[in-house]
Structures are given as C-alpha cells and as structure tokens.
Symmetry: C3
Subunit: 340 residues, 3 copies
Amino acid sequence: MKFSGSHILTVDQFTREDIDTVFAVADQMRPYAERRRITRVLEGAILGNMFFEPSTRTRVSFGCAFNLLGGEVRETTEVRASAIAKGESFYDTARVLSGYSDIIVMRHQIEGSVAEFADASRKPVINGGDGANEHPSQALLDLYTIRSEMESKGKPIDNLRIALIGDLRYGRAVHSLCKLLGLFDNLYMTLISPSELALPEEYTDALRAQGHTVRISDNLHNGIQGADILYCTRTQEERFPTPEEANRYRGLFRLNQAIYTEHCEPNTVIMHPLPRDSRTEASELDNDLNDNPNLAIFRQTDNGLLIRMALFALILDVVDRVHDSARDVGWYTGPPGQLL
Amino acid sequence: MKFSGSHILTVDQFTREDIDTVFAVADQMRPYAERRRITRVLEGAILGNMFFEPSTRTRVSFGCAFNLLGGEVRETTEVRASAIAKGESFYDTARVLSGYSDIIVMRHQIEGSVAEFADASRKPVINGGDGANEHPSQALLDLYTIRSEMESKGKPIDNLRIALIGDLRYGRAVHSLCKLLGLFDNLYMTLISPSELALPEEYTDALRAQGHTVRISDNLHNGIQGADILYCTRTQEERFPTPEEANRYRGLFRLNQAIYTEHCEPNTVIMHPLPRDSRTEASELDNDLNDNPNLAIFRQTDNGLLIRMALFALILDVVDRVHDSARDVGWYTGPPGQLL
Amino acid sequence: MKFSGSHILTVDQFTREDIDTVFAVADQMRPYAERRRITRVLEGAILGNMFFEPSTRTRVSFGCAFNLLGGEVRETTEVRASAIAKGESFYDTARVLSGYSDIIVMRHQIEGSVAEFADASRKPVINGGDGANEHPSQALLDLYTIRSEMESKGKPIDNLRIALIGDLRYGRAVHSLCKLLGLFDNLYMTLISPSELALPEEYTDALRAQGHTVRISDNLHNGIQGADILYCTRTQEERFPTPEEANRYRGLFRLNQAIYTEHCEPNTVIMHPLPRDSRTEASELDNDLNDNPNLAIFRQTDNGLLIRMALFALILDVVDRVHDSARDVGWYTGPPGQLL
C-alpha cells in the first residue's frame, strides 16, 4: 500500500509488508509517546476528529497521537448536534468537513458510513469505527501488542497459539484481528464462546483456508490450556437486539488469577480490547489479575498511541522528518509521587 | 468601522468599504487555508469558542480558522451543561469567560443574547448565531462567494440578478445576506417562496428603498430564469411553531439538473447556506447537481474559513504580521489517494 | 509538600507554607494570564481534562491555564459517553487515560472517585471536583482572592472578619475554604444560613479547635456587620434530595447595594464561588452590586487562571523555566471597542 495520502478504512487494505511498515514506524514513535522527546513535525496541521458516536478512549487516543506529533485537533463528539441530524448526507458532511482539516478520523454507528464519507472527502480519512463493521487501528494495535509481548519471549507471531474468548459474534475488534492474524503462518486458534456468540463462519473459513488450525470450544478451562495469548472480550450489549439478550451471556466466561494459575502456561499473555466490564455480573477479566505482569491490557492502549501516531505520520508523509524537530522534554514525566 | 478590538454582532455594522477590507484580508488568507503555507501569528492566543446551541460546521470552522492562524481553541458545545442552566445571567457568563480567552465566538438560541453577552465581555465577541436573528460571518462568506464566483465571469456584484429560494421567512442567512446586498447597486432580486414563508417586508422595503428591483414569485421555474445566482435554503424546521407546520412546506421547491438545464442560464451559480436537507421528502437541491461545476455550495464553506480567519486577523490586529511567521507546509496536502 | 509529580486531591494536603508557595507562583503567572507576555514552557505537553460531570467554567479555566503555559488540551465532557457507563472501573479508566497525557484534571460526581482514579493513574491528577466532597483549586483561588483583596487594604489574612452566607451545608467551596482558613490565625467567622443549611459541625469544631471565633447567625443584616469579607453562596439545588426542598431556601438571604450600604463597612469585599443565581426567585447577590468596586467575584475567576497555572507549573516542575521561553504578545489585548 502507498500510505501517503491514503484512507485507512479496513484491515483488508493491509498486506503483511504494510503491517511491517506500520510497526516499524510505531517503534520509532515510542520516545515521543513516552515523553522522552517531543517532536513538532505536524505543527500547523489540523486533525478533524469527528466522532458521531460517543467515545472517550479512542477519540482521546487519536487526538493525543496527533498532538504528540505537534498538530492541532478540532473535534465533534456526537451525532445529535450535527447537520446529519437535519438530513445532511455523508457526501455533504464530507465535502464540508474536509475543507477544514488536513486529515479526518471518523466514527459513526452506521456500517459503511465512513467509507461513504471517505469517497467524498477531499482529505485522507481514517476509520475510527463504523458500527459492528471495522475499527482498523484497534486491530493494528492488538497485533502490535501480540508482536511486542511475544518478542520479549523470543517468539514471532507465526506459529502462536491464540485463544479468543467471549462475544466473538458482535465484537468488531475480534473480527478485524482475525483478518490480520490470517496473514501470518500456521496459527493455532481456539475460539471460546457460547455457540450463539460464535465467530461468524466467514472468519473461521478464511482462517482455515489460509492454513491455520481453528478449534471451537465452549469451555474456558480447556480452551485456554497451552495458549500463548488469551484475547478476552466484553459482551457487546449495544449490538444485541435487546439488553435482556445481552444479559443472558454476560459473565459466562470469567477469567481470574486462580483459573489462570491452574490452566495457563506461566507466561500466557492476557489481552482485552477494553473497556472490560468490571461489574460483578460481568467481570470477564477479574481485578485480581491486575498485578499479573502478563496482563497486557494497558500496554495495548499505550500501544494504541504508537499505532495512531504511525498512521498519521505515514499518511501525511512525515516519517522521515519526525526527528528533525525533536527536542528533549523539560517537564516532570515520572510517575505521580506519594501524597503527604 | 475600526476593526481592531471590535465586536462583530450584526451585518449592520458593515459599510461597503468595510466589506472590501474584510474581503481583501480574506484573499490573503487563502494560502494558509489551502495549506500551501502555515502562519503562527496567533501562537499563544486563545479563542473561546462558546456554542451554547449545538453546531458542528460553524463551530469547527471558527475553530480551524483560529488554529490556522496559530492560536489555541477552548470550547463548549451546549447550554445544558453550563452555568446559564443554573440561573447565571449572560452578564456573569461574559464577565467570567472573557477573563479566560483573547477573543470569543458565541452562539446561543436566544435572539439578542450575544449582544447582551458582548456588552459585558472584556474581550471582543463575534456573533456565531443568535437564534433567528443574526449570523454575520455566514452573510459575509455568502457575499464573498458571490463576488468570487462572478469575478471569474467578469462581473461585479452590482447589477447582478439574484434569486432567493425557499424558506425566506425564518432563514437568518437570507436576512443578513439581503442587508449586505443592499449596500451594492442596482440588483434585480427575485424572491421565490410560498407566500407564508415570504421574506419579511422590512427586508423587501429596505431593498426597494435602496434602489433595487424586487420581484416576488411562488413559481420556481419562472423565478430562476435569467438569474446569475440561485440562493436556495432549507426549511428551518427548528424555528417553526410545530414540526407539522414545517413539514407542509418541505419539498415545495426542488432544484435539480433537469430544471437547471431547462430554465437557467448556462453559468448560473447555485448556492445554499447548508446543511441541505437530502432526505427524499425535502431535497431542495438534488444530488444530481453534485457534479455541476456551478454548484458553489462547498466553495461557500471553504470561503467560510477565509472570512473567519480575516475577522480574527482584523479584530486582533495582526493582518500586517500574518506573513512574518509564515513557512512552507511539510506534510501531504493533496487529495486522498486511491485505495488498493 | 513536594509539588513535583504530586496529585492534588484535597485541601488537607496543604500547609500554610505550601499555600505561600502556590500563591508566590500564582503571582508570577499574572503577566501571562493578562496577555502581557506569552510563555511556551509546556509546548508539547498534554493535559487530559476529564470532566465526567458537566462544567463549562472550571473545565475551560483549567484548559486555558494549560494553554497559557504552551501545552495542549484533550478533553471529555460527560460520563454518558464514556466507558465508565459500560461498566469500566475507575482503576481501568485511570490506567488507560494516564497513558495518553502528562497530567490529568478529573471531575466526577461520585465522592472519592478522583482519589480512586489517582491511585491507579500513572500521571499526576488534580481533583477538579468530586461531588460534594472536594474542589481544591476553587478553595485556593478563593483564599488567594481574599489575600489579594486585603493586601491592597494593608491587611493580612490573619485576624480577618469573614462572613459566610447561604447554603453552608452543601457548598463544597465553603467547606474547603474553611479548612484552608483554619491554617491562619485568629479569624472571626460569622456563619449565616438557615439552621437546616448550617455548616456541618466538623468544620465549626475544627475552626474553634484552631483558636478561631465562630459565631452562628440566621440574620443577614446583623451577621454582615463589621465583616471584612462577605462570602455568599448559591443554593446547591443539585445536591438536595428534591428540587422542592431546594426551593424552600432559595432567596432567603439576598444581598444588594442598599443592604450593603446600610450594614457593611465601606470597603467590605463581596465574594461568591459562582455561578450566582440571578433568577428573581434567588438573586442571592443582586445585579445592582455589579458596579460596586468591592464586588470581587470576577477577580475570583480571573485568579482561578493564576492558581491553576501555578498548580500545573509546580506539579510539572517548570516554575524556573516559565520565563525562559517568554516573549511579548503581538495581538490586540485591550478591551473591546465601541461599535459604530
């Protein structure tokens, strides 16, 4: 893929080589994301951070990634207040908003809306999530985390044993991740879910066609044995026909430290696209895992910054110039101190 | 008008000479708005972008205009969350908020609210829309677009034939535009609307008193013949007593390519303050006009950036210094590339 | 207190020496807040301005304070759109968001939520208000205002006569201010409220234990006589069990110019944490006081910028470098001019 000027709409755009490119740039972003250096390479550029569906985490992550490259962020946070609510087409919205900024991140609950928007946009568009369809930066940060976690254990992504757990039907993060994983070699995938929330067949079929082993299970304890990676998910209640139906499945698969100790390899990595539902009726990933060093869920969100910075740098074609304007950070960047 | 430090509350403030001043500065802003150059002249300045009525387009446009001059933007997006909802007066709100920023843009649904706010403000205030009353930057960008579009056809604003179409009663954009147009010479205005949504008499009377010809029509096909400019509007349903009443008038005047071809001069310019209502029951400006090069509606919103940058530069008195800090843009600014 | 890297969660953290430190830095911030100079010391830093409870004033004040030091602001404005609404714990929210920014300001309606959040945060956190509990920057700006106002009259804070008026039960601003005032010597405090809205005993007991005189009154005219400072408050209707109960107390204590003239010393300072309720049924501080030079309410909010800048500079350890990057302001910073 030629990144310069490109829309990022779906993980289908990415070859294995493209992924290597994004990850190599993400690695270079680490000193900036970790506040050891600052860069001003995008000073004067504007991101249109257009979230027509509520979101805090993803919106703030994209915004911070752009700020960390020196750019400015203008944003919107809901559809209710927008012209779309007055009957404006995505075509018009795109034509107008793309006159204001240098690049746009868009989230909207309607599947396909972001692609329709991008078609009419005069500036590159990144899909920040279109309903149950795609959320490519999430899939990239998940894959990048898998690579980073296993790298320190001396393993490549190829040949990994990965268990996906929970609502595999409605979770778009899982769907996109499966597509990216499919590009690698010889994976051993275990899909653990209630049968009603199984991964749609198109994904299992594709994985098998690419030569991966796919095992299906509805038993958490058996399914997680021998895995290198556990990828847990929240029940996506907002995508279910009714809240009651979502409630039926909430809390069916709960991972905690005791289960982990009994059934997992000592270094099995635990991931989750977040937010995890910590209400007692759900608790798919128990808080007693918070001190487990293999819990990678916050390294995932940290990596999200790197991936989003990399996408901005690649699309806006400034990778080679990021370091030109770099300088040391002059303020306190350590952990918070103890009170009194 | 002395622009430096002035509030911009109403188009009544502007003489024809003032308009020339704004437009000349707007012309100078083009390289920055089009990302051929960046300027940092307002680095360190803060815009208080106070939208107490929902808006995406206008709010983001003002915010981007300020960012493009190098300044920062702090903003609010609704009245519900504000102190005004706890009984705070506009006087207090203005005294407080004007202590935080260098300049304020305010929108509020109550007519006259922005003027009341400005009275107490310790910093210059731009009216971003106060109910059905005023929205001066919209009128300026509309007039600027008329000038630009006709300039390329070798015509000045004087002597133009302009048709205003649709809800001329509640559309504040139309009202303010009429006031500005009135400053020019010998216009031929056709007002096309259902009689219940006619332009209020104060505007027609004023135009006639200024020597312009005003013709009133309720027939779209006849009315648009011979016009240089068609200015279409959306039914302003939010200003009607009831939604049902608004529904009665929606879709009465629909312009499309076939009607345009049959009844208009070949180069008639099509304008609309946006958003246009693209729902099938409305569709005042059909999507089949999207490829018509005379459709100027997105040039209007692009021009909005220029006009708002010009107002900021004039009020904050930095016109002469905009170019001092200018430099070339170092990132990708072309159109989005093709996918895969 | 060691400020560098510290959370600011409660006024209980502050000794009298700490207060002197904050106020000395706040004094140094004045040229920047008043736009006589700009500094870029925090260029490249990001504030996470996380308001999970609606607020315009406090949110914009913190954001502007950070911008005035040269930093960027990413923010959220409500809980409804956040992962917290999907069952995410404060622990998770903190771990995630603290990976994005250099410092966080958080407001949330649940008492203790900000401290819980700070416990898990990897970056310093400032409490921007947690329900009826704490709002330390408000207490600091109130105390700073008392000091500034009395300084010009040649009086220190020690030995002052201060009347607190109105809803002393639910007003967190009053509670925190009482704690800070307690650190000074020999105050004469008059607490004027309906008995049902009296200051909770823990505060009166603490003040007396520290050697201050505390007088309790339900008569405005008597209570305010001889005071150096009147600190009025709004009925905090959002903290009452029902709106009806709040209505019973609204408008019981109304200060206006006539009462001021008859019962106060000529230079008695009038304060209010704002917003003041200017509806006729409330009007705790009449608009006829707006031209009284002793009305300090807008100097309070102006001082809020200074205090918040000082906290950021102290926590991020840049006090000594603020002036290094300082330069003159190049745009119009005077009062708004007269219209036409």
